[in-house]
């Protein structure tokens, strides 16, 4: 598999002349097409900053991020929006659905943005609603459905335009264990059946166990990397827990 994304010596500093915080400190790694990568780390370790950099919402202080041959750190603001629209999908802990739109309309919105035909939008929409099992609640508003359904809707919205990369920021953070499991299975299916590349930030070992590879972040640096390989999910979970135990269990209490 070829590299879909390459992160080269990325740095992100915040603050002013007197006080500088290194949120991301010379991080380099790559993500292959169709890979499911997870990032774990305590709060303040730079997970979300890294995700924001990858998702073009934030600018790097130094370094490069390549999507294929495109270096997004070189793009202008308008080009970045266009890039985001075409290549990225987002799933957040807080769902981030628009509360004035029904679930179906939330999914439709990203497609109308790309000026697709009515028929195309309708077909894709019903396909996604079916795939994520939220057909029955499609006409409900976000506040009328459960957290799990909201998150699956956010997922459907994220993959509606066949993105190059699906970015997930603590997607199970606000869900109960059952809903979290359903969502993670959905991610797994998307990854395996539709070859969707997923980049997920999480602090939950169970969620992380669905990934192919985990990057452990601390103080803005990658301090460890774990690949699932051919391991069973249960074994991979144990391996993750072992790494967490090595760091003093710090990761599991930082919500």
């Amino acid at each position: 598999m070829k590299d879909a994304i390459r992160i080269c010596d990325v740095e992100k500093y915040y603050g002013n002349e007197n006080h500088v915080t290194k949120a991301v400190d010379r991080v380099s790694f790559s993500v292959k097409t169709g890979e499911f990568v997870g990032v774990m780390g305590p709060s303040g370790s730079g997970k979300t900053t890294l995700l924001n950099l990858l998702s073009t919402i934030d600018h790097v202080t130094a370094g490069h991020i390549y999507y294929g041959e495109t270096d997004i750190t070189e793009l202008e603001e308008e080009q970045l929006s266009e890039f985001r629209k075409k290549n990225l999908g987002f799933v957040f802990q807080e769902y981030n659905l628009l509360d004035t739109l029904t679930l179906e309309e939330n999914i439709m919105l990203v497609m109308t943005l790309q000026c697709r035909s009515k028929k195309e939008i309708q077909t894709r929409c019903s396909e996604l609603l079916h795939l994520l099992g939220i057909e029955e609640v499609k006409d409900q508003y976000p506040y009328q459905v459960s957290g799990g359904q909201k998150q699956r809707c956010a997922c459907a919205r994220a993959i509606a335009n066949h993105p190059l990369l699906l970015l997930a920021d603590e997607p199970t953070g606000a869900l109960d264990s059952q809903a979290a499991q359903t969502l993670l299975e959905t991610f797994e299916n998307l990854n395996q059946q539709m070859q969707t590349t997923i980049f997920m930030v999480t602090h939950d070992a169970f969620s992380a166990s669905y990934c192919d590879r985990i990057l452990f972040l601390k103080d803005g640096k990658i301090f460890h990397e774990l690949s699932r390989g051919n391991k069973e999910r249960r074994d991979f979970l144990n391996a993750i827990l072992d790494v967490l135990a090595l760091t003093g269990g710090e990761l599991s209490h930082d919500s």
Partner: protein, 680 residues
Amino acid sequence: MIRKLAFRNVKRMTKDYLVYFITMAVVSALMFSFNTLLFSKEIQNLFEMAGTMAIMTGLATFFIVLIVAWLINYMVHFILEKRSREFGIYLLAGMKKKEIAGLYLFENLLLGTGAFFVGMLLGFFLQQILLSIFYSMIQMNYHLHLEFSWNCIVMTAASYGGCYLLALLRCRKKFKKMNIRDLMDSQKENESISAKNENRKKIFFPLSVIFIILFGFFLFCYKEWDIGIAILFLFGLVITIYLFYVGISAWISCYVRKKGNAVYCGNTLLLLRQLSAKVRTLSFTMGTLTALFTLALLGSSAALMFNHFQNQILINKFPFDVQVYSSQTDEDFCKEIEVLSRETKINSVYCYNIYENGTNTVNTYLYTHLKEFGTNYQRTDGTPNQKKIDQNNAMVYYDYDTYMAVSDYNYLRKMLKLPQINLKDNEYMFHMKDRVFRQTGDFSDQICIENEGERLRCAGYYTESFSQDGHNGSDYILVVPDSIAQKMRPYYKEMVSDIKGKTPVNLQKKLDDIETGDENICSGSDSIVLFAAKNLVRDNLVPEVKYMLSSIIFPLFYIGLVFLCVSLTVLSVQQLCDSVKYKYRYRILFQIGYSRKEIEKIILQQLVSYYLCPVLMAFVISGMISIYMGARFNFYTGVYTSPLLYFLISASLFLGVYVIYFIITYIGFKQNIEQGYMAR
């Protein structure tokens, strides 16, 4: 400590609700400058009718106090809702409800007092502008000077304080009812998106459109309006205004749910959903804003009507420098001439008779054919009700037709610098008010003017301004050859005079002071603005009438302006607060790929749609009513401005203020949103 907290909160409140603060300052400035007109000693000394302005401004102030109290009340509750969490924290920290209510009240009063003082400073500038406009309207010179009157300041402070008192009285109650949990939670309350009974509610949209069309149809086509029908329509209109918004929001919502074609184009889906949710939550406020906009537009249209009357009709109303009427046909006007020679330099004086020959053919024709009289002087079969005409209770026209000798007529024309006319022995001619002639046209074939049994031929019509409000006839005068006039009976006597130089300010009063018997002047069919008097001194009367008209025009503009500012503040503050509340919506749009430009476009489209919503409805309703009013006004007064123009001018004035508020809101909104998603 509490005082410190209050001052800090006020500072923050002023920043967050700058539009509200500015509006309150503008309102107090407007109050102050309009009250100046009321208390200005100079104006009081100038005019006999200074009381009219006091009554009209007082009336306007009453409505303004009510509406500004509504604004304050609205804002106090609005801010209370926004800050409820903060008040909840105060309660948790151990403050008593009474103390919090007191704190909030104190903050509001501080804000109000601040706005009042800023407004007073602004008021002194506005006062000069207003006085300049006022003096130029009544054709007098105005030299800039500060008009300072304690009464005026006290009156302004009292009206302004009255607004606060009315508004804040109800605020304490609200605090009493609240508990910590309510306070902490109320900020989380979102716009209700519940779609209950949408299908049923959407019927209100076509129903209100039908009602408005029906209202327009009745307004222009139905002739027999009475109070009952008017009240019925007014009531219907108020209900329609409110139900329209319930209907349109349900209608949009149903359209989106049905997935109409427009939903799939660009940003329409998002815009329609946002608009319908907003209108649904704010349907009552939107209705009230529409009503206020409508009143503001109608007020300024009516003010413009009087202004056009002043510019077109009033300047021609008194063609002679001085004109005096006397019902005594042997009057020699020696007392009047004595006053004139004492007070002025007379260029020329001319006394002449108005004649009658015992007939009232023209009066009968006019009583039965002018639309002003309707069918009042007709029998049920449409023929003239001669008995009623002969009784002449209304005293619009004299009992007999009025005649003038051609030599007198030509002398008067010469005074007015108009060309002379010639009449043959068997001819007569009309001099009529232009307004009346426009309605009657040539009606000489409908009437018979005779001299000793021989029918005279009509030689034509003249319609120049000729003092026909009871002096040179009422509405019309028939001009006949001298030989024919001499055979008639003198009816009443007139004197006109041309004065050299400036007319003394109190000449009219001096002439009025001369003792005479009862004088019954029949003033003709003018209505709305009518000025019938025995003595007419042009240069005294024109400013007096203009002052009287100003006392209608100024308060109407005053009301219009305040209503407009109040409504726009509500709209603006609503939007600005939403921008803080909905930052995250735009952040989501940014995340899913909307560029900064696209988001700016959505904000613009969204704001335009919110702002247009109440205005479009107000434009339709006030447009119809003001065109109707304008047409009636022109009909009764003879002003020839197109009725549509009154509306268009006031609509453009209105839009001018509207655009200012819109721009302020748009900039603020954009900044708030950008802070949300552009934060690096």
